[in-house]
């Protein structure tokens, strides 16, 4: 076997030499034979002739020799390719159209696949990533199911103590920008908080030093930090003696204990890590912990999963889940756990580009079928000359595969551009943490897709073309009165194109309607001329309510003095952002709670509602009187009243936010839009129930806790364009605390725009793909009708000569296109109905079976398809019957 492979390879790689040797060997044979014959007394010339005749055909022998060493297949292949190149170069219009179609389709596939691969498919860059698990609460309700990957401290403690089949660690999914200073250099870095053993569980050994020990990872533990490789290089020039040195983090000295390797990536982008210090209260009282586990070498996945379920069962029994809803802890792959929110949109886009490729293939198959009709004489001649049908099919397939590969090569270039464009447009919003690039994996997938596409669109036309009747094809001279052969395969292709285009158009329509719905939601405030900037207060110097409030008051007083400033306030969480959620109970009125309820919570300085012009509906707003010494008061939103104080007098009700304090509701304000973080009933952006508390009445512990996750925003309304006050705001804060730099200035309009980034991205991309699909389908219809006009010229000429009007002839020609489009739209509606069910999770504010979308897409498609059918049919009007009949 090995000898054969070696001999085959030798033959294949040294083909010119092989041919030369073969010729020399056989020539030598003939000469020797001739010499023998001569020595038997035959005249020299005659001897040579005899020797040659007896040997037989040299070419045939050489051919057989080449077959003997396994060169038959490569030989034929080379012949096919050379012929295919000649054929394709002979019809540049067809080749260009097919390659361009494929380049667009495969380019789109390449670009999207590179993202899908980076996020969903490529293994995580940790050793044995398949043994890494995310621990999630799997909630199963009537309407669907979901996995909650953020858990409370009590779950962590139970898992820490009970999950013996796993090495486990806990970490925070949110990163915070923090101020960093070392050796005189100041920097703004991203910090992630992780528990002891986190890096061990991921399988990462620190490059220098060590990771956090269990002793360091408890409340009140020493202030330590681990640096990323990049930060280590930047701040310490890669000094290996960095361990033990101190850096200033949020105004507090931290000791460096380790540095991570260069290629390490955490679950979120981060520059340094500090101990999480998990606990069951405080931060751990809410669902703020993500838990990662690595399967122990001797444990099986099912075993560990069963154990986790048992560990979680007692805790989940205490959760108020509601009727018909069940929950259990389970293991999901870590990769899936950290990419869960991107999964659906990416799979949707992947399916969409796949459909576009299918439509493209159908289009090219249609073109090939039309071409085969024109080539029937060539093919029949080849068959008549003794070529086998299999050889013919192979030859035609070689042409389409060559087309596929050319299209694939062009598509790879377009895909490369597409990846660049995607990165520019949206990847920062898609929160992709593995690098998206056109690597060999993506290129291999592209090559496979092109090859498959070539076979997909080429196989049927090749088989159909090989079934021609030689005599009919050669005799017909290409001018049959009855027109083309069976037109149905091509018609079927065109109808399917329309159906697939309908699926994409409806999906795009639903996402666009979703986006329009979210975009059109009443903001509930006046976003014009408002600038915002946030400051991280996760800082040791701002551990008390007194310090925080002094910062607010002094900085706001300076900002209000700036020219052009109308009003200014500080708030925790802006509109359109994700807000802090908190538990509370209603203490009096019609509803008194024995179980916790959930709402968004904001602290703010008194002027906030005035700055954003959020209307006060009832009661009063906060004043400076509502300070730390006064009775606790809150203002609630209208959505809060609807959800929790229905049929009740909201004013005067008392709420408890866990501290045992009674807070009185003194006012009701209008709703504003918020990014939703909880509640199945809310879309990605929705007017959520909100409770506002005065910053002056917020306690030390509350400030410390919320500032670990959220940074408050300074909100300033100006008379004119707000950009002019940026420098002044910066100076105002610097004057109060020189160590506090604003993290970035954004206008309120910009924040509103950004909040719908993902929805805008999805809708835009799908709309672009749907437009491409529509274009391809219309080109398909146009091509079909144009082709039938060309093929039926004689028939139409006869009809016109016999007295048919031009309008009748045009109608007869165009009608099949419209009928096919109608069939495609009907089939497409059914398919789109199915597709829209899959898109359910991405659709808001519009029904999955939205009649407006389905109707307008269907009618629009029909209208465009009619135009695409009538346009080529109009050529019939210019036909001169006499000419067409005289035509050969």
């Amino acid at each position: 076997m090995l000898a054969q492979v070696r001999s085959w390879w030798r033959a294949l790689s040294g083909r010119p030499r092989l041919d030369e040797e073969m010729a020399a060997e056989m020539d030598g044979h003939i000469e020797r034979y001739a010499a023998d014959l001569e020595s038997r007394g035959i005249e020299r010339g005659e001897a040579r002739r005899l020797a040659r005749v007896e040997f037989g055909s040299l070419a045939a022998a050489a051919e057989e020799c080449r077959e003997a060493v396994g060169l038959r297949w490569p030989d034929e292949f080379a012949r096919d390719v050379v012929y295919a190149v000649r054929v394709l170069r002979g019809s540049p219009a067809f080749t260009t159209a097919a390659v361009a179609t494929l380049a667009l389709c495969i380019g789109a596939n390449t670009a999207i696949f590179s993202v899908v691969d980076a996020v969903l498919l490529r293994p995580l860059p940790y050793p044995q990533p398949e043994r890494l698990a995310q621990i999630a609460a799997h909630v199963q309700g009537k309407g669907g199911s979901g996995d909650q990957t953020n858990l409370t401290g009590r779950f962590w403690e139970a898992i820490r103590d009970g999950a013996t089949y796993l090495d486990r660690a806990v970490y925070s999914e949110s990163s915070m920008g923090v101020n960093f200073a070392a050796g005189g250099k100041a920097d703004y870095v991203r910090q992630q908080r992780v528990s002891a053993n986190f890096f061990h569980v991921l399988g990462i050994v620190p490059l220098v030093g060590r990771e956090f020990s269990v002793d360091e990872d408890h409340p009140g533990g020493p202030a330590v930090t681990v640096l990323s490789y990049a930060l280590w290089k930047r701040a310490f020039d890669g000094d290996p003696a960095v361990v033990g040195r101190a850096v200033n983090l949020r105004g507090e000295p931290h000791t460096i204990v380790g540095v991570l390797p260069a290629n390490f990536q955490s679950s979120i982008p981060a520059d340094l890590w500090t101990p999480l210090r998990p606990s069951a209260t405080g931060e751990g009282g809410g669902s703020n912990y993500a838990i990662v586990g690595r399967l122990r070498p001797d444990a099986a996945w099912a075993q560990a999963d069963a154990q986790i379920e048992a560990v979680g069962a007692p805790l989940l029994r205490e959760e108020p889940l509601g009727d018909g809803i069940s929950a259990r802890l389970r293991l999901m792959s870590f990769q899936r756990g950290i990419t869960e929110d991107l999964r659906r949109p990416l799979l949707m886009l992947w399916a969409a580009v796949g459909l576009v490729l299918l439509i493209g293939c159908a289009n090219i198959a249609g073109l090939l079928l039309a071409r085969a009709a024109g080539r029937s004489r060539e093919l029949a001649t080849r068959l008549a000359l003794g070529s086998g049908r299999a050889a013919l099919v192979r030859q035609l397939l070689a042409e389409s595969i060559l087309l596929g590969l050319c299209g694939g090569a062009a598509g790879a270039v377009l895909g490369w551009l597409g990846v660049k464009a995607l990165k520019l447009l949206a990847l920062n919003r898609l929160n992709v943490w593995q690098t998206v690039e056109l690597d060999w994996r993506v290129l291999a997938a592209t090559a496979c897709a092109s090859l498959l596409a070539g076979i997909l669109f080429g196989l049927y036309p090749a088989l159909a073309a090989s079934r021609i009747e030689i005599r009919a094809a050669l005799g017909e001279a290409g001018r049959g009165v009855s027109g083309p052969r069976n037109p149905w395969p091509r018609r079927l292709l065109v109808a399917s194109e329309v159906a697939l285009a309908m699926v994409l158009l409806v999906s795009a329509g639903l996402l666009i309607r979703t986006f329009a719905h979210l975009q059109g939601l009443t903001p509930g405030f006046d976003a014009r001329n408002v600038i915002t900037a946030s400051l991280s207060l996760q800082d040791a110097r701002y551990a008390t309510s007194e310090h925080v409030n002094r910062l607010f008051q002094q900085s706001l007083a300076r900002i209000r003095e700036l020219p052009g400033v109308e009003s200014a306030a500080v708030v925790l969480s802006l509109p359109y952002e994700r807000a802090l959620n908190t538990e509370f109970r209603r203490l009096d009125g019609r509803h008194v709670d024995t179980e916790d309820q959930i709402t968004n919570l904001f602290y703010l300085t008194p002027d906030y509602f005035q700055v954003l012009r959020i209307p006060l509906l009832r009661g009063r707003t906060f004043t400076d009187v509502d300070n730390a010494n006064a009775a606790k008061v809150v203002i609630v939103s209208e959505a809060f009243v609807k959800m929790y104080l229905r049929d009740d007098d909201a004013l005067g009700r008392h709420l408890d936010f866990g501290g045992g304090d009674r807070s009185e509701v003194i006012g009701v304000v209008g709703d504003i839009q918020q990014k939703s973080g909880w509640g199945e009933q809310f879309g990605p952006v929705a007017p959520m129930p909100a409770v506002y508390i005065p910053a002056a009445q917020t306690g030390d512990r509350s400030f410390q806790m919320v500032h670990t996750w959220f940074a408050p925003d300074w909100v300033v309304r100006t008379a004119g364009p707000p950009e002019g006050v940026i420098a002044g705001m910066q100076r105002a804060v610097q004057a109060v605390d020189p160590q506090l730099p604003f993290a970035g200035f954004h206008s309120m309009e910009e924040i509103r725009y950004r909040s719908l980034g993902q929805e805008r991205f999805q809708a835009t991309l799908l709309a672009a793909l749907a437009a491409l699909a529509l274009l391809l389908a219309m080109v398909g219809i146009y091509g079909l009708i144009a082709n039938s006009v060309a093929e039926r010229t004689r028939e139409l000429g006869i009809r016109l000569a016999l007295g048919a009007t031009a309008v009748q002839a045009i109608r007869a020609t165009a009608l099949p296109g419209v009928a096919l489009a109608l069939a495609g739209v009907i089939a497409g509606s059914l398919l789109a109905g199915f597709a829209s069910q899959l898109l359910r999770h991405l659709i808001w504010g519009v029904q999955a079976g939205d009649p407006l979308t389905f109707g307008s897409v269907g009618l629009g498609l029909l209208a465009v398809a009619s135009a695409a059918s009538i346009l080529p049919a109009l050529r019939v009007a210019h036909l001169n019957p006499a000419d067409t009949l005289r035509q050969d």
């Binding site: 000898a3 001999s7 040797e21 022998a61």
Partner: protein, 113 residues
Amino acid sequence: MGKQVDILQGTLDMLILKAVSLGPLHGYGILLRIQQISRDALQIPQGSLYPALYRLEHRGWIAAEWGESENKRKAKYYRLTALGRKQLKSERKEWKRLALAIADVLAAEPEEV
């Protein structure tokens, strides 16, 4: 020249292996040797000799090398490889079995059936 026999399909390989087992030979030499040993009873169609040689070489049963022939001309010499020797042995055994069986069949008398 005696009466010539057409060579059975498949036996050509065996004859070539046998011929080169006696010493390296070029293509024409193999032809001559088979004719000589069979006293011209076996006539090999010249056109099919080379495909057979390439097939055997491809299978690793014979190996080829360019050398100089008796009259100082370059020629490709074939020799038997170890693999080829084994193959020749097994083919010879097969052939003997076949020949014996056919002889038995042909020698059968009516009453034995």
